[in-house]
Amino acid sequence: MAILADKDTRVIIQGITGGQGTFHSQAMLEYGTKIVAGVTPGKGGQKVNGIPVFDTVMEAKEAHDAIAAVIFVPAPFAGDAALEAIAAQLNPVVVITEHVPVRDEIRLIHTAKRQGITVIGPNTPGIITPGAKQKLGIMPGHVFADGPVGLMSRSGTLTYEIAAGMTYAGIGITTAIGLGGDPCVGLTPIEAVKLFENDNDTKALVLVGEIGGDAEERAASYIRENYDRPVVGFIAGRTAPPGKRMGHAGAIISGSTGTAQAKIKALNDAGIPVAEKPSDVARLLQDVL
């Protein structure tokens, strides 16, 4: 088992005719993802990487019985693309696009929430379930191995770094979720913990956080009260100066909130060991598994 994506997840790619959409749908197909259709308004009837393209999400869904959507649509139109996927009741909706206006994010997140649909991102590498050979995103599949650990993270390459270290140490994952690097994202760390909690194959969790906001602190207190399997943490940005956006829109220390120190303390207080370096995550996991 896994969460959010398994072997039966039939995927549509929105923005499949664009550069990113074409490149990554090919990479997904090579990994094993069950892509059944693509959507680009005005390009219905074409094919990309052998995948039929439709003008609307609803047409694509009905023709191919799709379940989930992955969105590569450029930022000015990504919010609308997500609302279209939500209206077609696709679930989960994975928004890879970076630089989506926050007003659009708030709207799409709450529209999905009211309908019980999970939005991953925006600004996420996506989700991957190695055991089912399914990736709904842009991560390099080969660094992830199948195994018993759930992985959630606010960043992309740092997740690959940590996953590669785990794979090298012989520790695989059930599912890895990129939560997204923006201040407002669909799936929060607490909600991700709850999803993993309901998955019996997930025996331990890795929580990769970074400066900005207090979502890690909230997840830590949820874990302390409710989650009894082992958790290992990593927090990026110990040396980041306040008031500067460190690459991600959400990675900013505002006043005294959002520091790595506060997050590390909250995790430690919840009994979660926090790795000093990415490579220490695998070592800490070996201790608890």
């Binding site: 708030i106 991560m139 390459t157 770094e161 970074e210 207090d214 690459g247």
Partner: protein, 381 residues
């Protein structure tokens, strides 16, 4: 994008939100003329994108136009938080009955706009939250309805207003909400919003940050501002033009990586081994050789740099492209300080072969690379 007070107030007035009479001056003489036009005692305020202008001497009062000229001269020579004051706002000094706080921002956890008010304005909202949190009223906006008139009245009442003032203040909050929606504002504050002795509400200050990701929807506003969205030095400009995330720091090791999280973690690793980073440079996803070369060029323009650490975890970024970029930079004679390369992931072997042939050493782990670059930076001092 942060707007200056006078730019924000232009937008406020376009939404019929009252501000004190006055105008912007770039010279002491202009300040004097504006004060004469106002015809009453004025306040002269530095127009810089920095908080705590008052404490830095950037806000002064003047009873006469001549005094306004004198204080404008003082303020126009100031540097506040390293920003030189290029203009001042000259406005009527209001007859204050009460200072109020009004603001709207985004709550990251609830993923909603939150409208914030207090009958005790003047001090910063952070200080107020520390001192008397009970005086702060908050309302989280329902994304399906937006901020409604009854929400605004409820806030005014909770802030302690009664009678006619309830509606007057509610209208103020509603206008602020309209501005937030119309301009993709991620943070706005009026502090203080003044209730005058004759019962009027006026925005005495204005802070307005527009979502950078939404600027494409606000071309007209951008044109009317006649300036770049942010003040940047030449290195920052070059990085932005090339879609790289770039932050300058106090140390001497430039960290060039792919991905924001990995770059932050690399800075942290450098610190763990006793070094200090000069540069956060995230090449972004899928960087090609040209982009890598450009990244090295940008990092080396910063005089503090004594060593470079290139840390690449190949995903969509391919190691052979990275290697080609490093090689090109070296062959152009660009690399003037010691460099450490760590490169793994997609097309790792091809990339390593390119570096091997060129005689450029590389490492396989972040730890080795961070510890080595710290030593090289120490030797370079």
């Amino acid at each position: 994008m942060k707007l200056l007070e006078h730019e924000a107030k232009d937008i406020f007035r376009a939404f019929n939100m009252p501000t004190p009479p006055g105008g912007v001056a770039k010279t002491p003489e202009e300040a004097m003329n504006l004060a004469a036009k106002v015809g009453k005692p004025v306040v002269v305020k530095a127009q810089v994108l920095s908080g705590k202008r008052g404490k830095a001497g950037g806000v002064r009062f003047a009873d006469t136009p001549e005094q306004a000229k004198e204080v404008a001269m003082l303020i126009l020579g100031l540097k506040i938080n390293n920003l030189s004051v290029e203009a001042v706002l000259v406005e009527e000094k209001l007859d204050i009955q009460q200072e109020i706080y009004a603001g709207i921002t985004i709550d990251r956890n609830k993923r909603k706009y939150v409208v914030i008010g207090s009958g005790s304005g003047g001090m910063s909202i952070e200080e107020l939250a520390e001192e008397s949190p009970e005086k702060i009223v908050k309302l989280y906006v329902d994304p399906s309805t937006g901020f409604l008139p009854y929400n605004a009245r409820e806030m005014a009442i909770k802030m302690g207003f009664r009678g006619k003032q309830i509606n007057k203040l509610a209208i103020f909050f509603l206008k602020l909400w309209n501005i937030v929606e119309a301009h993709d504002v991620e943070l706005t504050e009026i502090n203080p919003l003044i209730l005058t002795k004759d019962g009027r509400f006026l925005a005495a200050d204005a802070r307005l940050n527009v979502d950078d990701n939404a600027l494409f929807r606000h071309k007209q506003m951008m044109e009317s501002l006649k300036r770049d969205p942010v003040e940047q030095n030449e290195r920052e400009k070059l990085a932005t033009e090339n879609n790289m995330a770039y932050v300058e720091l106090d140390g001497n090791i430039a960290c060039i990586c792919n991905g924001a999280g990995l770059t932050m973690a690399t800075l942290d690793a450098v610190s763990l081994y006793g070094g200090n980073a000069s540069t956060f440079l995230d090449l972004g996803g899928g960087a090609d050789a040209e982009r890598v070369e450009k990244g090295i060029e940008v990092a080396l323009m910063y005089p503090k740099v004594k060593a470079i650490l290139i840390n690449i975890m190949g995903g969509i970024t391919r190691c052979d492209e990275v290697a080609k970029g490093i090689l090109a930079a070296r062959d152009d004679g660009d690399i003037t300080v010691p460099m450490v390369v760590r490169m793994v992931g997609t097309n790792e072997e091809e990339g390593q072969e390119i570096l091997n042939k060129a005689g450029i050493p590389f490492l396989k782990t972040m730890e080795e690379a961070a510890s080595k670059v710290v030593n090289l930076a120490k030797e370079a001092k």
